[in-house]
């Protein structure tokens, strides 16, 4: 070990400074004990970043370990930049989801843009070429002007970044609920494909190999972004705007091409994105994975401005940078590739045999940690978990005790209200701003149950989707966690895909509060149950805690990113009705569970009741029956029943595709044991509406799988009406009105902001 003295000019280590760095007294003691001395300012900064919740998963790791992570086709599970699965033919798919909630709450445009940039880098550092982006967004009510500012800024940020890099944004979900008022959730997922032999891991190896900084120069932006993301949002958060990084998608595009060329070239042994906590975490994590020592000289790092201290260089979160371990003697070859793409590459350190993590400023050692303990010594916590009595009371409310409104006697009124609720209404306003067709693989783009992308060079396609109903998780985290996985699986299955694996982004509140930690533990347990039953292991993901504002915690929102495989592109199935005269069938049970429904929230303003039950074995049977029917060529269309219930599903089957509208004649009178409103709007799980020209075949297959299957009506391509007969009443809705409710709702709300306002003008709205 070297002699490490305080660096002249650096602040003295005081209890106040330690607290400011987010370290508890106990954590500081651990650090002192590990070093055998007081840390330097630089060391304190390093540990503050690496032991932040965002980097260390200190509150979540023990719980996450309970999730299933293996399957024969999983090539890379959790712990790397992204998970990787094999889809056969020597082709692998890399995918990962990550949050950028805190930056987006303060600076929506850059927050969302850099979220896209970061997740793209996580995928291409595995050696995969990104082929699709998804995003899962949560905002408060659109009636609020600031929410509209956040929504339009986030959408523009996602679009501008992805469009410029040239990766299609193909799917996702957008939900609006007051629970996310001051703390929006912005989760971005990236999917890439590669030949299996190109898979590369971020593991430093080979004593004497040079460590190189590649890509953009290091500036003072984003310092302490990781720590910022590990605390509650408050009125003071705006003051931390400088902690937010600024993205440059043009540089990202160059870096993408250069990195893939580097990986192919054989000149490097490892590559990792300098993401959260920048150079610090990328170098420490690569060293830890390879069980080697590293030494880095900060004076060799190309910087954007002069006079940056070691502390700043190590903790900068400047975007579009990579850390590369090159093969010794291949430095010039690496530089040549970067130069071709007008980017820089500089040797900044070396892999060493001595088991230390050392940072120097020229010859002066400014930080040194023993072995990989910088990563491994981070404490983990298992805080108390206790359900909130208040939420338990909400769950106990019987939804049938809520009286119907007078207006509800006309079911069309309710149906139109639900179709125009922003969480259900068409999100074309946002999707039109995303290039969804670049790279010419997009078979089904935004607006379907899941997006489908062909895989070039094969007869296969992959289906991808993100899902989570935070309201269910709030009311019952165990069931809600199960549903998040099951619904994502059902969605990819509706396109003809076998669910393969998931990545997850767990957005929760402050874990030191027992009621929040209860939600976290229970939701993860529910997810694990569903993953095991459905055979979809977790290959990685991200945890975002401290999603709290002065208004309280967001709904617990464990977003699932699911990847499914379609073995034959001829099996690709659409969500909306296709052919006149097709029979409409319902796979799954009818049980009238209204708890936690969009109906109660939108029509009655109530978030109460037990969410619909979720039997994961039944979910599996429904998916199996559907896939067998699709593969037998018996299915014309398939659409999952989810938010808003069966009535909304049927309406979407009729009107979701503006170029292929169909009417339908539906008879649900057989379900006389249930209330009419429950038949229409209950969100009972495990149900899929299919249309078929060989219904007997579907019935036969479903019966064999033990799945209830009933014939409920017929597609009337040109009737212009959705007609539903109920036990005690009926619905006769014109498609014109349904279409208008569904498609015009969000554009109408967004036009409340002056139509030609610039983003800067919108920013002023936001300041008020």
């Amino acid at each position: 070990m070297s002699q490490v003295d305080p660096r002249p000019g650096d602040p003295a280590i005081t209890p106040a400074l330690v607290a400011e760095h987010g370290l508890t007294a106990d954590e500081f003691d651990r650090l002192t004990h590990m070093l055998g001395r007081k840390p330097t300012f630089t060391e304190l900064g390093i540990v503050s970043a690496l032991w932040s919740e965002h980097c260390s998963y200190k509150h979540s790791r023990p719980v996450l370990k309970t999730l299933p992570t293996t399957a024969p086709y999983v090539l890379q599970g959790p712990g790397e930049n992204a998970g990787v699965i094999s889809i056969g033919d020597g082709i692998a798919v890399a995918f990962k989801i990550e949050s950028h909630n805190h930056p987006s709450a303060v600076e929506p445009y850059q927050g969302a843009a850099t979220g896209v940039g970061g997740i793209l880098r996580d995928v291409f550092t595995m050696g995969a070429r990104p082929i699709a982006m998804l995003n899962s967004l949560r905002f408060g009510s659109l009636d609020d002007a600031r929410v509209r500012y956040l929504f339009s800024g986030v959408v523009k940020g996602i679009g501008d970044y992805g469009n410029c890099v040239g990766i299609p944004t193909v799917a996702g979900e957008i939900v609006f609920d007051p629970a996310y008022e001051k703390n929006p959730l912005v989760n971005a997922m990236c999917v890439g494909v590669m030949h299996e032999e190109d898979l590369i891991r971020a593991k430093a190896e080979g004593v004497g190999n040079p460590i190189m900084a590649v890509g953009a120069r290091t500036g003072r932006d984003g310092i302490h972004g990781a720590s910022f993301a590990s605390e509650d949002l408050s009125e003071a958060s705006d003051a931390k705007r400088p902690r937010i990084q600024v993205g440059d998608p043009f540089t990202e595009k160059l870096l993408l091409e250069a990195s893939l060329e580097l990986i192919k070239s054989g000149h490097i042994v490892a590559i990792q994105d300098m993401g959260a906590a920048g150079l610090t975490s990328s170098s420490a994590e690569m060293a830890e994975r390879g069980d080697v020592g590293v030494t880095i000289d900060v004076t060799k790092v190309p910087t954007r401005e002069s006079g940056m201290t070691p502390y700043e260089i190590l903790l900068s979160e400047s975007q579009e940078r990579m850390l590369v371990v090159a093969k010794k003697g291949h430095e010039d070859a690496v530089r040549e590739i970067l130069t071709k793409w007008d980017l820089t590459a500089a040797v900044i350190g070396e892999v060493i045999s001595e088991p230390v993590y050392r940072v120097t400023e020229g010859v002066r050692v400014v930080a040194e940690f023993p072995g990989s303990r910088l990563v491994t010594d981070c404490p983990t916590y298992s805080p108390t978990a206790r359900e909130s009595a208040e939420i338990a009371d909400l769950r106990a409310v019987d939804p049938s005790s809520i009286p119907e409104l007078a207006e509800e006697r006309d079911h069309c009124w309710t149906l139109e209200r639900l179709l125009s609720a922003p969480s259900i209404a068409s999100k074309t306003w946002a999707y039109r701003q995303y290039d969804s067709t670049v790279r010419t693989n997009t078979v089904i783009g935004p607006g379907g149950d899941a997006a489908v992308l062909r895989v070039r060079g094969t007869n296969k396609a992959i289906a991808v989707k993100t899902d989570c109903n935070g309201r269910y998780v709030y009311l019952d985290p165990r069931v809600g966690g199960r549903i998040a996985v099951a619904e994502a699986a059902r969605n990819v299955a509706c396109t003809g895909a076998r669910p393969m694996a998931i990545t997850n982004c767990l957005n929760f509140g402050n874990p030191t509060r027992p009621e929040v930690f209860f939600q976290f533990k229970e939701a993860v347990a529910g997810m694990g149950e569903a993953c095991r039953a459905l055979g979809t292991p977790v290959t990685g993901g991200n945890v975002s805690l401290y999603n709290e504002s002065p208004l309280g915690a967001v709904y617990p929102t464990p977003v699932i990113g699911m990847v499914g495989l379609i073995d034959d592109i001829s099996h690709i199935t659409r969500a909306f009705f296709q052919h006149d005269g097709d029979t409409v069938l319902l796979l799954g049970e009818m049980s009238g569970e209204l708890g936690g429904s969009e109906y109660l929230a939108t029509i009655h303003g109530e978030v109460v009741g037990a969410p619909p039950s979720c039997d994961v074995e039944r979910e599996r049977a429904v998916i199996d029956a559907l896939l067998e029917s699709i593969q037998a060529g018996a299915i014309s269309s398939a659409h999952d029943c989810s938010d808003g219930g069966l009535a909304i599903t049927l309406a979407e089957c009729c009107i979701a595709n503006r170029d292929c509208e169909s009417g339908a004649e539906i008879d649900l009178s057989r379900f006389g044991n249930l209330a009419d409103r429950a038949i229409l709007f209950a969100e009972t799980q495990g149900r899929i509406v299919v249309s078929s020209n060989v219904p007997d075949r579907v019935m036969e297959i479903a019966t064999r799988h033990g799945v209830p299957c009933v014939l409920i009506g017929r597609v009337r391509r040109h009737s212009g009406m959705l007609e539903i007969t109920l036990p005690r009443s009926s619905v006769r809705a014109s498609l014109d009105r349904l279409r208008s409710a569904y498609h015009d709702a969000i554009p109408a709300i967004m036009s409340r902001t002056p139509e030609h306002a610039t983003f800067d003008e919108l920013s002023q709205v936001a300041a008020h």
């Binding site: 043009f250 595009k253 701003q433 969804s436 010419t440």
Partner: protein, 230 residues
């Protein structure tokens, strides 16, 4: 026939054009590097879509100074076919290969959609295989696609049959709501006075497979094949 597809820093539809030419047309294609001065014997040049130089300064404004553009301009001057798609159209305008300019969409948002365009002139080497007045379904994806030019230039383009594609509705009518970006006179694509440089905002290379929703773009590439080979 050999297609040369220029890769500028920030091009991102070069790959799509390459696959349309090789997989769909079955012809030879090469990528041409922006720093080179060699068209590698290409018969047809495609300036692909994307965000060359990040759209910094102004769309297409920096790419036109790329070394390869000298050879592209000479090729165009000699009557060689040049197809500028999206960012390639913007670059062709900046380079003076086509008149007019492409400005920020009127509604100020990026627009990604499958739009309809009408073939206004079938007497070109790019549209020979279409029917006059035929309505095509082709994706657009751009933030700066509003075609503008002085009135007299627009009039001349119209009178010389150089407006090749126009945004229309499903019935083939020119309407304000079918115009995705506010282009003057719903103009989606124009050709130069020699008839060998076509620029258009929609992406024909993305409309080359029924699986992806449309193969209306195939005949544009095939037209070049028949006309230039003949």
């Amino acid at each position: 026939m050999k297609f040369g597809i220029v890769t500028f820093p920030g091009s991102n539809c070069d790959y799509d054009a390459y696959h349309a030419v090789t997989d769909v047309l079955g012809e030879e294609a090469v990528y041409l590097w922006h720093k080179d001065h060699d068209l590698q014997g290409s018969d047809v040049i495609i300036l692909p879509g994307g965000f060359s130089y990040g759209d910094y300064l102004r769309v297409g404004a920096i790419a036109r100074f790329s070394p390869i553009m000298e050879e592209v301009a000479a090729h165009a001057k000699a009557g060689g076919p040049v197809l500028g798609i999206c960012n390639g159209f913007q670059i062709a305008c900046e380079a003076g290969l086509l008149p007019g300019a492409l400005l920020r969409n009127a509604h100020l948002q990026f627009v990604s959609d499958a739009v309809r365009i009408r073939v206004e002139n079938t007497e070109t080497m790019f549209t020979d295989l279409y029917e006059r007045g035929e309505v095509l379904r082709i994706p657009v994806a751009h933030g700066d696609g509003r075609f503008v030019a002085p009135e007299e230039t627009l009039d001349r383009l119209e009178s010389e049959g150089r407006v090749v594609f126009r945004y229309v509705d499903a019935a083939g009518n020119v309407t304000p709501s079918s115009n995705p970006n506010g282009s003057e006179r719903n103009i989606a694509g124009i050709i130069n006075d020699n008839g060998n440089v076509l620029g258009l905002m929609p992406h024909p290379e993305r409309a080359c497979s029924p699986l992806l929703g449309s193969s209306d773009g195939v005949r544009l590439l095939e037209s070049i094949l028949t006309k230039v080979a003949a």
